[in-house]
């Protein structure tokens, strides 16, 4: 059964890290969909952006916001 709560920031950041620092939005959502509903995943991603934990890089890949700032 899928979890009721959206995935945590830590879960998302870990998946980004596992993917080498950037991850295609489709791939990330695919990985999270095993445990979470799509609406919960989208909620977590919106929150992640608003809390400045994650962001999209120039290629449209999801990255850790602080990492992008370091690169810039």
């Amino acid at each position: 059964m899928k979890q009721d709560n959206p995935p945590s920031d830590e879960t998302i950041l870990e998946l980004i890290g596992n993917a080498g620092g950037e991850i295609d939005p489709d791939a990330l959502m695919q990985q999270l969909s095993a445990e979470f509903d799509l609406s919960s995943i989208i909620e977590a991603l919106q929150r992640g952006i608003e809390r400045r934990k994650i962001t999209l890089n120039n290629e449209g890949m999801i990255v850790v916001a602080q990492e992008l700032a370091k690169v810039a």
């Binding site: 295609d24 939005p25 952006i49 608003e50 962001t55 999209l56 890089n57 120039n58 290629e59």
Partner: protein, 457 residues
């Protein structure tokens, strides 16, 4: 030579110079010269008029679309952030360019002042009839060969038409740096080939050639000043992102076409066709457009309410729309970099990927909005209205019969000796869209209006 205390470096002194007045005395006005410029533009009646002028759809329609004034505020905000970011990231280059956020913001606030009522439809129409007023009952000698262009009209307003002081001090008397920053196409019109790059867009009429040359004294070649480059990029960002946002809200952007694989080829073909009209288009237009579309599609993935739902303004839709546009704008602001001012090329380089995305976003608006049949019908009527008003202003102005003119436009004929077609166009360019409609109805007799209503105050 060591710079002494209070001494202004030569370039800085040139940048703060004004045509009609000496440098302001800080004991009299606490503001710096560029702050004064910005404030003069913001408080001008030409800026006030922008609230009643179309961006794409008629100003005020459905109360949802950006007017030119709302667009301008956003351009100003983005322009300022661009300048601040360049100063933060490239302090040395910024200093050598003399880059100042107030100048960029001032230029942004000024950039659309010359747009006539009804936007580009009227601009094209005015260009035709100013060059050939015989189409509207005028004579060959009434004509101005360099026609009409919104950017050139902006420069004319700033240097001649804006009323702030007495006749001996026309326009807003802005600093050289701010005037140069408003010149998006820093050349006069190429009259030998109206279809060339310099024949299609230009930033000053021959009537303002002296002011144009004065403003450009320290610029090189045909390159915009760094501040003009940033103003131009800010305009592109605001137009591509915020206008698209407006049209998304009313449901005319076909996101299903944009995000679905099956429609890609047609979309790319359309965008490539438009880009190839640009004489500076690179050889790999096709590949760059395809890549830009792929990036935009990827960026949209985590905002499904944009691509999968009809907009109804729900909290979640608004949230995702804001997050999406914010994810676009931030990188676009960081995509501008100052060049070495001594290198002799463009003063600002925009990252190709960002420029390609913005170009594509602009194409979306063009594809889904500018082709709407209702918009074409509206523009047909607007062009006709512009011709009617032009004919009346031209005839009555030449005869010195100013009773038909709104009082606030009469000075244009009294103070300027330009050919009549230019002055008639100035009168139209000074109207909002509602004023143009009201004046037209009264002058052609379809509606009398009220005797005590001056129409244009």
């Amino acid at each position: 030579m060591t710079q002494g205390e209070g001494e202004v470096p030569a370039l800085d002194a040139a940048r703060v110079a004004r045509c009609h007045s000496p440098a302001s005395d800080p004991r009299v006005d606490q503001r710096g010269p560029f702050e004064i410029d910005r404030d003069r533009i913001l408080y001008s009646s030409a800026f006030h008029r922008l609230a009643g002028v179309t961006q794409i759809v008629r100003a005020g329609e459905l109360d949802i679309f950006h007017t030119r004034q709302q667009h301008t505020y956003k351009v100003g905000q983005i322009g300022r952030r661009l300048a601040e970011n360049c100063i933060r990231e490239q302090a040395s280059e910024a200093k050598r360019h003399g880059l100042h956020p107030e100048v960029v913001e001032a230029a942004c606030l000024a950039h659309d002042l010359g747009h006539p009522p009804f936007g580009h439809a009227a601009e094209t129409e005015l260009d035709i009839i100013v060059r050939d007023p015989m189409k509207c009952g005028g004579r060959a000698e009434d004509a101005c060969p360099d026609g009409y262009e919104g950017n050139a009209q902006t420069f004319r307003i700033l240097t001649k038409l804006a009323v702030r002081y007495g006749k001996e001090r026309p326009g807003l008397d802005l600093t050289r740096a701010t005037l140069a920053a408003t010149l998006k196409y820093p050349w006069l019109r190429d009259l030998s080939d109206l279809e060339s790059k310099k024949g299609k867009k230009w930033s000053a009429y021959r009537a303002e050639q002296a002011q144009f040359e004065w403003a450009r004294e320290h610029c090189h070649g045909d390159f915009k000043s760094a501040e003009a480059e940033l103003m131009d990029w800010a305009d592109d960002i605001a137009y591509s992102v915020h206008d698209l946002e407006d049209f998304h809200r009313v449901g005319v952007i076909q996101w299903s076409e944009i995000v679905l694989e099956g429609h890609q080829a047609e979309l790319i073909e359309g965008a490539v066709k438009v880009w190839k009209k640009d004489p500076d288009a690179p050889a790999d237009v096709q590949a760059r457009t395809r890549d830009a579309l792929a990036r935009i599609q990827r960026k949209l993935k985590i905002f499904p309410t944009i691509t999968q739902e009809v907009y109804d303004g729900s909290r979640e839709q608004r949230r995702q729309l804001r997050n999406f546009t914010s994810q676009l704008i931030g990188p676009y602001v960081r995509a501008a970099r100052l060049s070495d001012p001594d290198a002799g090329g463009p003063n600002v380089i925009i990252d190709d990927d960002a420029a390609d995305e913005v170009r594509l976003l602009k194409y979306f608006a063009r594809r889904y909005v500018i082709g709407l049949p209702a918009l074409h019908a509206q523009q047909h009527g607007q062009r006709r209205l512009v011709r009617d008003l032009f004919e009346i202003f031209l005839k009555e102005g030449k005869a010195g019969n100013f009773k038909l003119f709104p009082a606030r436009l009469r000075y244009i004929w009294e103070d300027n000796a330009d050919p009549p077609a230019r002055l008639a166009a100035d009168c139209i360019a000074g109207l909002t869209e509602n004023e143009a409609y009201q004046l037209h109805r009264r002058l052609i007799g379809s509606e009398s209006g009220l005797v005590l209503d001056p129409i244009v105050r």
